[in-house]
């Protein structure tokens, strides 16, 4: 699943480490999410989308394999 976390985070000028703190996860988790190596739980996805003030599907792009 692709996502726009890095793009939106950079637009908002938030550092990866600060964003991780805000989401209550480690910096490595944010890095893995941004690289597409790890798919978040629905709770974390919701938290991220809510923080950006967007719908989940605007941040996370579901692609059928």
């Amino acid at each position: 699943m692709k996502n726009r976390i890095e793009e939106i985070r950079n637009e908002k000028g938030i550092k990866q480490e600060d964003f991780a703190k805000l989401m209550g996860v480690s910096r490595q988790t944010i890095s893995s999410l941004e690289n597409g190596r790890y798919n978040p739980s629905i709770l974390l996805a919701h938290k991220i989308a809510a923080y950006f003030g967007m719908a989940i599907e605007e941040v996370f792009i579901f692609e059928e394999e």
Partner: protein, 135 residues
């Protein structure tokens, strides 16, 4: 909150148990040195856990670090995945061990390893049934 009173009580319990084992070995109530070794290990683990617990209560940065480390969903995922892989590797290694032991005529080792594989598979099956009812 990862380090709570329950975990503190548990670390003190391990420490006390370890000290009791050491005392029993020193006073010759227990005659095998393995108990002293176990006692030493338990005391060390209990002491380290207790110190971590106390630091967690006092040091805000440390508390945040620990809470993130243990509350982080990717870390939980990695821990679960690592245990799953460990299980697969152990069963596979034991299966190979059974065959090698049979070929080399080590019947006892072969039997012990076979039982071990059966036990692990049994535990997996029970765990699966319990979890499938829960989720």
């Amino acid at each position: 909150m990862y380090y709570n009173n329950k975990r503190l009580a548990l670390s003190i319990f391990w420490m006390v148990l370890g000290i009791v084992l050491i005392i029993l070995t020193v006073t010759d109530v227990l005659d095998q040195s393995i108990y002293a070794g176990m006692g030493g290990a338990l005391t060390t683990v209990g002491f380290l856990q207790m110190m971590r617990n106390l630091r967690y209560r006092k040091d805000e940065d440390y508390r945040e670090k620990i809470d993130t480390e243990f509350g982080d969903e990717r870390n939980s995922f990695l821990r679960m995945k690592s245990w799953a892989w460990t299980g697969y590797i152990v069963v596979l290694a034991e299966g190979i061990g059974v065959v090698i032991a049979m070929i080399t005529g080590q019947e006892l080792i072969s039997r012990v390893l076979s039982w071990s594989v059966c036990l692990i598979v049994g535990i997996y099956w029970v765990t699966y049934m319990v979890l499938s009812r829960k989720y």
